[in-house]
């Protein structure tokens, strides 16, 4: 059973506009959430994270929103740039562990 779900396998956005990537989870014990960015033939690289005590975390063009009641988080990229084109993974971990549970990824394509 997939505890972390990314239901959109792909997303296409025009340069300069907002990209919104979504992630849902089922395990209420998750308390820490991360987004990773992955280019072909490379491992995922850490992008941004959020603790369950917050509902928003911002880092430059990237903002992650957490809705605990809905068990939903999203990554907003504003403005989107062609270099943002990659696969984005959502991941989560439980309290007192650092073991990650990954979603299946969403491929973002930013076109000019």
């Amino acid at each position: 059973d997939q505890q972390v779900k990314q239901n959109s396998p792909s997303l296409s956005v025009q340069e300069g506009r907002i990209s919104i990537l979504n992630c849902d989870y089922t395990n209420s014990m998750f308390d820490y959430f991360l987004w990773y960015k992955k280019y072909p033939a490379e491992g995922p690289t850490f992008l941004i994270s959020i603790s369950s005590i917050k509902d928003k975390n911002e880092d430059g063009r990237f903002t992650v929103f957490l809705n605990k009641s809905a068990k939903h988080l999203s990554l907003h990229i504003v403005p989107s740039q062609p270099g943002d084109s990659a696969v984005y993974f959502c991941a989560a971990s439980e309290l007192y562990t650092d073991k990650l549970i990954f979603g299946t990824g969403t491929r973002l394509q930013v076109f000019p």
């Binding site: 820490y32 033939a41 491992g43 073991k99």
Partner: protein, 113 residues
């Protein structure tokens, strides 16, 4: 039905031992991977493998070796385990190299004592 399964989930062993972590995917994917999670945030790719090519991250010690008996399996063998090998290891698969979706296993926490 689990898509990518790893066994064992936890492995505690002594320094100097040789151990294996098994990975199986039932998705019919062509490419499988091994990652090492060194800390809470950082993942490092160790190997990617399809039925034609093994790509090795050059920073991975040669004590680590992947073995693929068939397309659905990519096992990780580790010889002469060291304390620094303690980490969580993830197996993953995708249809093609760098494919749209990658499915990760649940991870194996290896503790070397």
């Amino acid at each position: 039905d689990t898509a990518v399964s790893q066994t064992p989930k936890y492995l505690v062993t002594q320094m100097g031992n040789d151990k294996s972590i098994k990975c199986e995917q039932n998705l019919g994917h062509d490419t499988m991977y091994w990652y090492k999670q060194d800390s809470k945030k950082f993942l490092k790719i160790m190997f990617s493998y399809n039925n034609k090519e093994l790509i090795i991250n050059e920073t991975v010690p040669n004590r680590f070796s992947p073995k693929s008996p068939d397309k659905a399996h990519l096992n990780l063998h580790i010889n002469s385990l060291e304390l620094g090998d303690s980490a969580v290891y993830f197996c993953a698969s995708s249809q093609v190299e760098g494919g749209t979706e990658a499915f990760f296993g649940q991870g194996t926490r290896l503790t070397v004592v």
